[in-house]
Amino acid sequence: MIKIKVPKLKMLDSVKLHVDALLTGAKEAIRPGTITIEYPRERRKLPDNFRGYILFSPERCKSCWQCSFVCPANAIKMELASNNRYYPSIDYAKCIFCHFCVDTCPVTALRPTKIHDVVYKDLEEMYTPTEGMVNPPKIIREEKYTVEYVVEGRDLILKRTREMDNLIPEIEPHAEVKEYSTCFDPESCLACGLCVNSCPVEAISITTVGQERRLKIDREKCYGCGICVNVCPMHILKLVKRPEEGG
């Protein structure tokens, strides 16, 4: 353990620092708005990777469940949508804003925003279904300035600009890992067809010909969500990387 010692100041330095503090106080008294940000009339400029309200793009999501698996607060629940796919929903009463879900999403379907001031009436309302995650929540804002702290020399100065800081930073989607499902141990297959029923895009098919069941995974249809891998009672399916196109 490292202990940090308070530096011993000389009498003169000590007096100087005290005077500095008094002067700063006096400055704020004469001309207000040099230290304090007047929320909510002013908006503080936040870094682009600020961990706030989470937005969701269903068109990117491949229902891999990684966000719900990684969530340490168990706030993400996968909900079955009308198109037979599973999409995340967040309970903000549980969310601890660690953004592990955002970081873990392989297809950038979850994006961070700088919105940190949403008001709810009760705990139930804090549960945000998938639909609620697609667009930013409605907040009445009355800010006129964007404020930023800038360090100049030994002073911390508040800078105000008329230009509004964008609450939803633009995130470049990262390269997608393309995978598809395969069977690595067909000799242990029960031919139960649970994988067939679980597939959201009907990429797996089963046909019975006489005393034989034929299973087939359509590599083109499969988008590598991995639900079948999870469902298989014998655990004989796995995702493999799709070879580079044209390579």
Partner: protein
Amino acid sequence: MGTQTETLEWRVKIPEKKIEGKAWLNLKKRVIDTGLCTHCSACALVCPVGGIISSPNQEIDFPEWEENCIDCGACIRACHRWEYTPLYDLGDYIDLTAGKSKRFKGQDGAMVTEFMASALEMGLIDRALFVGRDDEWRPVIYHIRSVDQLKNTRVTGTKYSYASVLPELKKAVEVTKKGVGVIGTPCIVTGVRKLQSEFKVFRDKINLVVGLFCMENFYYYQLRAYLEQKGVDLKKLVKMDITKGKFIATMTDSKVSFPVKEMDEIVPHGCESCTDFANVLADVSVGSVGSKAGYSTVVVRAEVGKKVLDYIKDKGYADFSKVNPEIIEKLTKLKKKRIKNIPEEYLSVAFKEDRKKNRENKENKENKENKENTE
């Protein structure tokens, strides 16, 4: 195609149904309702929807089969009584000896425990399934992962009750890295072998199968009721044993014994049609019959078993003695008689062909002998 054996297309053979209806109905009508079921629970292990229930107190059942059974036929594939190939006699073996473990306390010579412990030490397996018990001798399944766990006398020793070993076996197979060891009565061992013949995972991951000599096994609740009626307090019970036709229950303060014959009324149907006494399909068969008191008879049938036995001999973990195979053969013959309890239509095609060949050979021999005699 991937680099390994990853496939996108594969075929699976499914069993032929005997009656119309879902697979479970077929299994129930043909095997369970006819009393052929041995309660090995292989069907409960494979059932992909987990609907088949195996409890130590009742017959195998699938209560909500009408809704939940997906008619995949895996339970039929796993069942070794669907097409019944009766096994009998002492079977093939490499080595026949009697042993007494120096490290463990068990039913007789604790050789089952010794084999599993040595296999764990050798790194042949990383977990073994043991049937232990609770305060009232209810069977409980333990995943044994270190030799020290076997010092517990609740884990070792015979329980004479059905236990759902096979459903636990699936969990063990899923997590194992080196392999799993299983112990079982002939029905469980036959069930394991059937699973291994049908599904590759079990072939790859079950490395040691130790079989027990077995005349019959009981449903826990029936055994309990029977013993209580005989004045046995299960909480005080220390050991149950069957020797020389007598069931002996040893308690902390007293002993109760009675002829096993009296227990015939609670022998489950599955045992009535079982002909395998010496556990023909196991890697190693162990039992008390054929060796002197305090020793277990060990029948080594497979190379794996031989390897473990050599290891035990090298380390000096056990004392060895002689076996009297005649007594074992007498009991195998006694159990073989139960073959008459199996209805003809349940015997497998392979068995019938084998039997036909044997009979023809016998007739040929007799004919030859007759000819020679007449000449």
